[in-house]
Symmetry: C2
Subunit: 495 residues, 2 copies
């Protein structure tokens, strides 16, 4: 069947995909390889490419082509692809070029200064730059709201988690709020009476790297289609055809980098297993950031910190670092599931992490909706950390409200994805356990195929074929339900 | 003074520079980092960028802008920049888009097949693909000749060595031909009676890498603006702001990789020291491939294989690999200046290298001018190698006419640059020695500043400010003269 407008659109998206490939590799290189003096030229080159990508997506011809394609005879997958094209196009055209540029400048400026302001605990310095970032993101949210008919905060969240709304997040987080604080108290009390021997280092970087590579292989990472390198902040980058993971090794603590690698490997396998026939098209892309996070957390939390996986890990640690009490499988499992109230989100455990996210969600939504001003953040933060986690952050901006890069860079509406991802992951594994009742025994025997096969079929190969809600329904038989997350946590931490 | 057309052109070239940055990094990554399955997506992405660069350079607006800029009030440097813009524009517009695409396809196809045909000694297989490459490059040369008024072969060479002609190369190579074969005979006879102890390996790769980095530092490489990595075929890539060198280590022979690194460091320092105020503009680019080669050969041949440098190298080798007879400074110098007739250009020494280039020049010019057909190459090659070097290559295509990637990839007119570079380098050092009569003593004391200061002032910082001929005149006080090369070789090999 003939669909010239649709075909023309797919060619545009193929071009976007190819240019984004160069951009993604340059981004990875900036963090993993680039020497310091390369920074200026790299920033210029990437800004030029950003402008080209934006210009391509906002080309005046696209609107009419999208209209005409809508009337062409398309099959269901093509129609889904067209739906995602329209979403990207609407997102790009919602903002005037001048606003995009002012945001890029203000965000880069604020983020760059933040890198030294954070260690210096310089809230006032940060605030001076952040006011403009906030003002611009409010303008962005208003324009996106106009373009989508969504509420301002929802319109921002929609960029990362299409279809999700603040109302839904309120409901989901409200559910967690009912039972999670009590669970955290119970577990911390119980663990307090059961001290665990800490691993004794140092742990040589080279051995940590070998171990990381070994685990990535165990977790099915395709080394013919990706790499592992080092960077200051671990991430998963590159393109589906060539995924670039990074990690960071510290010789006194191998567990953090190791579980970081397991986490990033989850992101990587999603990318490496997106539907190949659709690569370069929106339908071939990961569904959402929450679903992406559900893959990394499937790997890190559902698999990586399970009792069965601790049993796989223990002999490998002994082989690399020699035997010590902390490497007993049972001890290792207790180390991997240690719960502690702390200030820093990225160091938080599975049980306390949602509190960090809920606080950020509350504040960032208030900032967008005008209930909170930039200068109110520290007080809100201190109060929230005290009530949610019982932690005192007063005067400590560094490990308080300045700890994350997101807001300074102008990124609002992303934080909920972390905890949505944890809930999705629990829901996936509940479904996997229904299908494979012997899942834990199989994991203990290093047979990870049931989990991977299920994720590949239900999540990875689906790309952006369905809306997030429909994907969840089709994959797990129901809508997102925090009950699975609760059951997972209770089974792991109360049994 | 107002020059709107010129300003518009500089903005276009800045954009080209930024896009080329992404392309250069992707190219480096392909060779140094990329896993095998990334290849298809990378090739697509780079082809898309090639098309964009070509489209930008052939934009219909450029011709009129170049015309108008010519009538604007420009200073001398701006006028030189405009001259180079016009050269790039003319080169890009000389070929129809369809020919460029057919050449890219045929070259990539032929080169890809060559990678397995060469080890299989499969000349007939290569010939089947190469005929089309040759036919297309003949068409290219005819079109470039039309656009420039140059002869067909000269028009190809002009892409690499602007201003150079076959007539000049004939004169220069004719001069070499008068005295070089006799010199080679004399030196080989003499060295035959003086055996040199070979280095005894193995030489650990990690130690070779440390040594390479140490030499690069000694040679002034700026590690804040570049890196050293590994690849199958060493090269110097990246951008002036961030130069990416590669090398290859073999544990049984450290000298080859080490001198390869010294060679590439010469290319790198040229790039790292191009005029910063002009980066992104044609005037800020390296003058020509011959001049570029003159920098790598200044480092490798003029400096790196000198007696004084052998004295610097010797203790460093002992420190890394332990003492052995081959690491005596005098022995090391004799190893670094060993002359041998051999089949393979890239392994050839300073004295026999020009014969390899002269043969290729003779054949490729004949191929372009129609005096030689593709199927005549082996006979021409065997005859040339026999007469120029006394080497029998009959039936050995692998290390004969199939050894280089250039022709299969459609690259004609480049080979002369290697020997032009050797002659330029000798001329630079003749000039440096006139200014610093104690040059060798200073090198022996690890004081390389005289050479570097001279090169920086006379070559690196000049970028493309002058035509090649004018650059040579200004730098060395005269036109390119093979006498300097002869004197250099006689001083090194007959003293």
């Amino acid at each position: 069947m003939s669909h010239p407008a649709y075909d023309s659109l797919t060619r545009t998206w193929t071009r976007l995909h190819r240019f984004s490939h160069l951009q993604a590799m340059a981004g990875w290189d900036s963090s993993a390889m680039m020497p310091p003096k390369g920074n200026g030229a790299r920033a210029d080159a990437m800004a030029e490419m950003d402008a080209l990508l934006h210009r391509t997506l906002t080309d005046a011809a696209l609107g009419p082509l999208l209209e005409r394609a809508d009337d062409e005879p398309l099959d269901d997958a093509q129609r889904a692809n067209l739906r995602e094209m329209r979403r990207e196009w609407r997102s790009a055209t919602a903002l005037p070029e001048a606003l995009v540029q002012r945001q890029a400048l203000a965000g880069a400026h604020c983020e760059h200064a933040w890198r030294s302001q954070r260690p210096a605990n310089d809230w006032r310095g940060f605030l001076a730059n952040f006011r403009e970032v906030l003002q611009l993101v409010r303008e962005e949210s208003a324009r996106r709201a106009d373009a989508t008919g969504l509420r301002p905060y929802d319109a921002l969240m929609d960029c990362f988690e299409p279809g999700m709304t603040g109302a839904q997040v309120d409901r989901l987080f409200g559910d967690l709020q009912q039972w999670l604080p009590g669970l955290v108290r119970t577990v911390i009390d119980r663990q307090g009476s059961e001290p665990v021997p800490a691993p004794r280092g140092p742990f040589a970087k080279a051995a940590q790297r070998e171990l990381s590579l070994e685990l990535m292989a165990l977790l099915g990472f395709d080394f013919e289609a990706g790499r592992l390198d080092e960077s200051a902040h671990p991430f998963s980058g590159g393109v589906p055809e060539d995924v670039r993971l990074t990690t960071r090794y510290t010789e006194d603590d191998f567990l953090q980098s190791l579980m970081g690698t397991v986490h990033e490997t989850g992101h990587a396998r999603y990318e490496q297993n997106l539907p190949r026939d659709w690569l370069g098209q929106p339908l071939g892309q990961a569904r959402s950031m929450g679903i992406h996070e559900s893959q990394s957390l499937s790997f890190e939390m559902q698999l990586g910190r399970s009792r069965a996986f601790a049993g796989l890990l223990a002999p490998r640690l002994v082989a690399r670092f020699g035997a010590q009490p902390a490497f007993e499988p049972d001890t290792l499992y207790r180390l991997l599931t240690r719960v502690e109230r702390s200030m820093v989100r990225v160091d938080a455990d599975e049980l306390t992490y949602p509190a960090h996210v809920m606080l950020r969600y509350r504040i960032e939504r208030g900032l967008i909706e005008g209930d909170i001003e930039a200068e109110d953040i520290p007080a809100q933060w201190d109060e929230g950390m005290a009530s949610l986690l019982g932690v005192d952050t007063r005067g400590n901006y560094r490990d308080g409200c300045m700890q994350d890069v997101h807001w300074g860079a102008g990124m609002f509406g992303y934080f909920p994805c972390y905890t949505l991802g944890a809930m999705y992951a629990a829901q996936w594994f509940a479904a996997i356990r229904r299908q494979f009742v012997d899942l834990d025994q199989r994991i203990a025997q290093a047979d990870l195929a049931p989990a991977f096969d299920w994720l590949r079929e239900h999540i990875w190969l689906q790309g952006s074929r369905w809306s997030t809600a429909e994907l969840v329904q089709r994959a797990s038989g129901g809508p997102l339900d925090p009950l699975h997350f609760r059951r997972h946590l209770e089974a792991r931490y109360l049994d």
